[in-house]
């Protein structure tokens, strides 16, 4: 079968994507926007030279620890023997993680025992030798089977809803749902911990180097200042690696107990089962609209499917002005692993429903969905993006819903996002050595976003030297505390701290040069790595200048929670436009084109920023079309806890993705870009599928069976208002 070629392109023939981009090496405020800087650690990453936490072995050959887990949705542990496990050669220890025999486990993947051994195979053999037996119980496996009570509405609320709907000419009454998505980090969760008595060395996989360390203090029985935490590279976190987790805690406890390094990393199935997820949702919308496009309000009643998590299932769908809306949310428990924050927690599932509801409202009122959004989007800034995105995707080619002949129908959709500007204290330091080398250090981490590159670009720019001079260093508690990589705040918080450090380092270097050369430091500057005087004459090149130092300069940079002079203000906003082709005979959806326009204040490095957008879009495509943590309706066991049957978008599923960084001329400083690009994608795809078929697919993933059902619905004779 012939394959269509597809791939990620940002400079494609008929799309002029450079139109709104700044020209090469143009400087905005205090940072350089350039077209040429590639990831400084790209080669290390693709050649395997970069060592991730899972690759690290602290000191001597570590002991290997692993969990034995409940294989069913709900089951009582009826038998098992720690002694049998410890009789396996190479097994040094086995213990229950909580109650022993008789314990009732509440989800597939719940740990019941931990086994420590001298090798991976001995640990696995020991785990089997436990001989766990289970009495399986009936359980709820999703929101539907848990049959949540409808939310209680007061009389006033019912009246408000009825008033809103009565004022409308049309009503959209629809239930939207989204499936559980797992983080699917390529590097699994875990740590190698070496307790050495007075101190401990930890190699973890984390998106919060300092947070991980601080979470291990009590497990190690050490003041956190005695723990050296390292996390040089992270193979994905997406929100699930903010703390040490049970993997880190048990590695620490076992290392303390045995005084040896302990390596504990999850297998792929454990990743799907027990390291968090984006919870499922069910969202009941009832909204009224007038023929003139006024949305009169109604209700949005939502459920989050949080498994045993107890909470964290909120859906965030507040963006358009929907009039007077009563909102209620409940989290629904069932026998499944609990959620953890996942890339814009609550937002993709919320906007899946919001955007599709918007298009359904537009359809009943006979208004173009782009026009309806212009009427109800409160952001004037975002509306500037609408015209450009519509032009690039070819919105004028959009046909009325379900109006095309032939089996393959093309559809267009769009979605929006915004994201807060979260500020936390952050520190950094710049070290200038006498040999001219420069270190830009922060104890934050790089989970893939390009943090070394961003820090290096900022330090080089403010020192006035080429990036090649600067070694950016992250992922160690030897460096000053940097922010956690959650809430899209790594760059926004390290950039000002690094700017202060580099500026201070430069000041100290120039002071030394001035002292040595008997010049006035205020007259000196550094341009392209050369120290120049007021008339632009070179006093010394970089090496010569640094050789004048009597010792290294270590300049700290620090930024507090609020510091309006240093920090960027305002939120990150974005708009995405999508074009899909739906095969109405097979139900297969192919995404053809995505134009993703995002503003992030002043971007530091174009390539890594575009890469964030592309990554978010890909995760959104995958959420819209494929991903589904599927728990067996009979046993509650996850049936697809692998990368074969848990489906994630692959290379041949990629559309042409056009990332556009929308530069606001009035922006100051940086804003987050990690999370917002994954918010609008799935909703925009759902809208495009609706446009193509003529009936909505209200549940993600939008799989062929659901598409075929919608095709049938679209062909059925219409009744009622809609």
């Amino acid at each position: 079968m012939a394959r269509t070629s597809s791939g990620i392109q940002n400079q494609s023939g008929d799309l002029d994507v450079t139109h709104d981009l700044p020209t090469s090496n143009r400087t905005y405020n205090n940072v350089t926007m350039d077209d040429v800087t590639s990831r400084v650690d790209a080669v290390a990453k693709v050649t395997g030279r970069a060592k991730y936490g899972i690759d690290q072995i602290a000191g001597p050959t570590p002991l290997v620890a692993g969990f034995a887990r409940c294989p069913w949705g709900k089951a009582e542990l009826t038998g098992g023997s720690l002694e049998a496990a410890m009789n396996i050669p190479g097994v040094v220890h086995a213990e229950w993680t909580g109650e022993d025999i008789g314990r009732e486990c509440q989800y597939h993947g719940q740990p019941v025992a931990v086994v420590v051994a001298e090798s991976v195979s001995a640990m696995r053999a020991g785990r089997l030798a436990l001989g766990l037996t289970w009495d399986r119980r009936d359980c709820d496996h999703d929101i539907e089977s848990a049959q949540p009570e409808p939310p209680a509405l007061s009389e006033e609320q019912v009246e408000a809803i009825n008033n809103a709907l009565e004022n409308a000419d049309f009503v959209v009454d629809a239930v939207y749902s989204t499936a559980v998505q797992t983080h699917s980090c390529l590097e699994s969760h875990g740590a190698t911990v070496h307790h050495q008595g007075e101190r401990a060395v930890v190699y973890g996989s984390t998106q919060s180097n300092y947070g991980f360390r601080d979470g291990l203090g009590s497990a190690l029985g050490l003041p956190v200042g005695s723990i050296d935490m390292h996390c040089e590279y992270v193979g994905g976190g997406f929100g699930s690696k903010l703390g040490p987790g049970k993997e880190g805690v048990y590695a620490a406890r076992m290392s303390k107990q045995f005084g040896k390094p302990v390596w504990l990393f999850c297998d792929r199935d454990e990743e799907h089962l027990d390291t968090g997820n984006r919870p499922s949702s069910r969202q009941h919308y009832k909204l009224g609209i007038k023929t003139d496009g006024t949305v009169t309000g109604g209700h949005i009643l939502t459920c989050g499917g949080v498994g045993v998590g107890g909470g964290g299932g909120g859906v965030c769908g507040h963006r358009y002005n929907f009039g007077s809306v009563i909102r209620k949310h409940v989290d629904v428990s069932f026998s499944g692993g609990g959620p953890k924050a996942m890339r814009a927690p609550g937002h993709p599932q919320g906007m899946f429903a919001v955007e599709l509801a918007m298009d359904e409202l537009a359809a009943v009122a006979g208004i173009d969905p782009l026009e309806l959004r212009r009427m109800h989007d409160p952001s004037a800034f975002r509306k500037g993006m609408y015209a450009r995105g519509a032009e690039l995707i070819g919105w004028s080619n959009r046909k009325p819903n379900g109006s095309q002949a032939g089996p393959i129908k093309v559809g267009y959709g769009m979605g929006i996002c915004d994201w807060g500007n979260f500020k936390v204290p952050a520190q950094a330091e710049v070290v200038i050595h006498r040999d001219g080398s420069v270190e830009a250090r922060s104890g934050t981490q790089d989970m893939g976003q390009g943090q070394r590159t961003v820090m290096g670009v900022v330090a080089a720019h403010h020192l006035g030297v080429p990036l090649s001079v600067v070694q950016a260093k992250v992922g160690s508690t030897e460096y000053p505390p940097g922010p956690a990589s959650g809430g899209s705040m790594t760059t926004t918080n390290t950039e000002p701290a690094m700017r202060v450090a580099a500026t201070e380092a430069k000041k100290q270097l120039l002071a030394r040069v001035a002292e040595q050369q008997q010049l006035d430091a205020d007259d000196l500057a550094i341009v392209d790595g050369n120290v120049v005087n007021g008339s632009g004459k070179a006093i010394a090149n970089w090496r010569q200048a640094c050789a004048m130092l009597t010792g290294p300069i270590t300049a700290p940079g620090s930024v507090g929670r609020s510091d309006p002079t240093l920090r960027g203000q305002g939120n990150s906003e974005g708009v995405q436009f999508v074009k899909v082709a739906v095969d109405c005979e097979t139900g297969v959806v192919r995404v053809l084109d995505i134009v993703a326009i995002h503003a992030c204040g002043i971007p530091v490095c174009r390539k890594t920023a575009e890469s964030q957008i592309i990554g978010g879009v890909i995760q959104g495509i995958s959420f819209a079309l494929f991903e589904n943590k599927l728990l067996d309706r009979q046993t509650g066991a996850m049936v697809n806890a692998n990368f074969e049957q848990y489906k994630i978008a692959g290379a041949d599923d990629m559309p042409r993705i056009t990332p556009i960084i929308w530069v606001d001329p009035d922006a100051t400083g940086t804003r987050g870009l990690g999370e917002p690009p994954t918010i609008p994608t799935s909703g925009a795809i759902a809208c495009a599928v609706f446009n193509a078929i003529g009936a909505p697919v209200r549940s993600s993933p939008i799989t062929p069976d659901r598409v075929l059902q919608a095709v049938t619905d679209a062909q059925a004779p219409k009744g009622g208002d809609a």
């Binding site: 089997l128 005979e585 079309l625 494929f626 046993t635 066991a637 049936v639 489906k647 069976d705 059902q709």
Partner: protein
């Protein structure tokens, strides 16, 4: 499998000749009397499916016979009517001879898995890989194939399971190569110690695989001492393979159809048709009713072609969550017919 199996050593034989491989397969690596009850070696080609089983704890063989060590050049030979058992899927997909002689085979090979897998996966391994049913593949489900007493798919998650075949196990056959070979009247060549290596036994495709009602723990009819060494097939210049998948990268088809047409001299009328559907039954599922209906039809008569293809679902018994396959199946067949006409 018990815990001691995991710590048990696995021995691997590296046979250089087919004769050696046959001896290993009938006697094991040691004299049979050394270790009474020791099962015969597991045959390994690229080892992809074997490692999947091993990692999930579904198998831990004491002995493996690594067929990749074989030096016999016929195992790698590709021609207009034969495929060596150790030919990679990439080699098959890239072979001009195969593509000209039977495009359906090259297309099926090309649509499998990923480039990385196709570069190592072999024709023989692809035919004899075990089913991908998620209940079979997960250790905690004691299903029929694993000697248990129930098929968990019946009351469980069966969206990817069979709509034909009558159970009691509802797997779908995983090999798309087998599907394509089935419409090329292929035969699998089999050797063994008893048979000898000079005159392989020829097993037609329709006798190679068996339904769960006939045999539960295996999907094929070969004996434990037999080794497939190659495939012979007949030219099918008017043939095509069409898959409908959720994902375009690395996914198993929901439904696939292989079609080979013999055309009359007028170039428009179908003289005879061979149609096989996959993703729908425990074995490659030939569709004689569609084949008969297609015979004599002018391929330009799209309505009659479509009517013939609509017969594809006759006799289907969908499960609780896979009736959607019945909508896709006639479409896949008719698209394969259209592609086969060229």
């Amino acid at each position: 499998m018990s815990h001691s199996d995991l710590l048990m050593k696995t021995e691997m034989a590296m046979p250089r000749t087919l004769k050696q491989a046959c001896e290993v397969q009938s006697n094991g690596l040691h004299d049979k009397n050394d270790i009474p009850g020791m099962p015969l070696p597991v045959l390994k080609a690229a080892g992809i499916d074997l490692m999947d089983h091993w990692k999930e704890g579904l198998t831990a063989p004491g002995q493996v016979s690594n067929l990749l060590a074989l030096r016999d050049p016929s195992l790698h030979r590709l021609s207009a009517d034969s495929i060596g058992a150790l030919c990679t899927l990439s080699a098959i997909a890239d072979s001009t001879a195969v593509r000209k002689s039977a495009p359906v085979i090259a297309q099926a090979a090309e649509s499998t898995a990923t480039p990385q897998i196709r570069n190592v996966a072999t024709a023989g391994g692809n035919l004899f890989q075990r089913p991908r049913c998620w209940y079979y593949r997960a250790h905690q489900f004691d299903c029929l194939k694993k000697g248990g007493h129930m098929c968990f798919a019946v009351e469980g998650e069966n969206r990817y399971h069979a709509v034909f075949g009558n159970g009691p196990c509802h797997i779908v056959h995983p090999s798309n190569l087998a599907n394509a070979l089935s419409v090329c009247q292929a035969e699998v060549l089999v050797v063994s110690s008893a048979q000898g290596t000079e005159e392989p036994r020829r097993v037609p495709m329709h006798q190679l695989f068996c339904l769960p009602e006939d045999r539960l723990k295996s999907e094929h009819t070969l004996g434990p001492d037999e080794i497939a060494v190659g495939i012979s097939y007949r030219a099918a210049p008017h043939s095509a393979h069409y898959e409908v998948r959720e994902k375009q990268s690395f996914d198993w088809p929901l439904v696939m159809a292989s079609v080979a047409l013999d055309m009359r001299d007028d170039g428009r009328t179908i003289a005879a048709a061979r149609v096989c559907a996959g993703g729908v039954a425990p074995i490659p599922w030939r569709m004689p009713q569609v084949e008969r209906a297609l015979a004599g039809i002018n391929v330009k008569d799209t309505q009659r072609v479509r009517q013939a293809c609509d017969l594809a679902i006759r006799g289907a018994q969908p499960m609780s969550n896979n009736a959607y396959k019945l909508r896709i199946l006639p479409v896949a067949v008719s698209r394969a017919v259209r592609l086969a006409v060229g």
